[in-house]
Amino acid sequence: MLQIEFHGVLQQAAGGRTMELDGVASGATVADVLERLKGERPALAAHLPRVACAQGDSLVRHNREVDIHRPLVLLPPVSGGSAEETGQP
């Protein structure tokens, strides 16, 4: 069972901070898991093309294998720092 962790706006779309995904096979890639999530949480679908993923303190590319023993963390576009440099008027 793979634990999925959501941050930012993804928590609203997913309806919570975490969920568990059954049946993720050993060797599955991040992209495989994201594809599964579209079915499990349709509200996430629009966000997924802009989502990055991490395990522990490192980013994991979408074509890489998921370590099913560690949470897969979904990170929406980031907006840290100061307010005055958002590129908005």
């Binding site: 941050h7 930012g8 706006v9 609203q12 992209a31 997924l48 093309p49 802009r50 989502v51 990055a52 993923c53 991490a54 522990g56 303190d57 490192s58 980013l59 994991v60 590319r61 979408h62 074509n63 963390v73 990170l75 929406p76 576009p77 980031v78 907006s79 840290g80 720092g81 100061s82 307010a83 005055e84 440099e85 958002t86 908005q88 008027p89």
Partner: protein, 150 residues
């Protein structure tokens, strides 16, 4: 000192931590919560972060800034939690022998932070609505990769 904190940022501590007699320039950048966003009045903001990665990003960014520019000190701290208008959300402190290098390095540090640090802003508006600000996709997202991987 942790670089990610839910406590008010301590400028005095950063200045003490970076004291360096070889430096003739000190540049401080402070990002503060402003009272408007996209034409709407803002009453406050909540910052959330993916802590394990955020701390590493800031440590790595400090090191990278020191390697990339002829500066002697670079420290970056970022706050999470509920912030009021005028509260500092981020501080960047750079010390260098010369001012040009210090300005360049501080600019690089804050600009790079904004595209690498896993932090999200949730605005609370004067009209009672609220919502997450959009931002910059991190580098492994489909959009950031431009579809260059299968």
């Amino acid at each position: 000192m942790s670089r990610m904190t839910d406590q008010p940022l301590d400028m005095d501590q950063l200045l003490r931590d970076t004291e360096n007699d070889t430096c003739g320039a000190l540049v401080i950048f402070a990002g503060v919560v402003r009272n408007h966003h996209l034409g709407k009045g803002v009453t406050g903001m909540r910052y959330s972060a993916y802590g394990p990665m955020a701390e590493k990003v800031l440590v790595d960014l400090e090191r990278e800034t020191l390697e990339k520019f002829p500066v002697a000190e670079c420290r970056i701290v970022h706050r999470t939690g509920d912030l009021a208008i005028g509260d500092a959300s981020v501080l960047v402190v750079v010390r260098a022998p010369h001012r040009g290098d210090a300005f360049d390095a501080a600019r690089y540090a804050i600009d790079t932070l904004k595209v690498r640090l896993p932090v999200w802003k949730h605005d609370f508006y004067e009209d009672g609505t609220q919502g997450f600000q959009d931002g910059v996709p991190l580098e492994t997202s489909d959009v950031a990769r431009g579809g260059d991987e299968p």
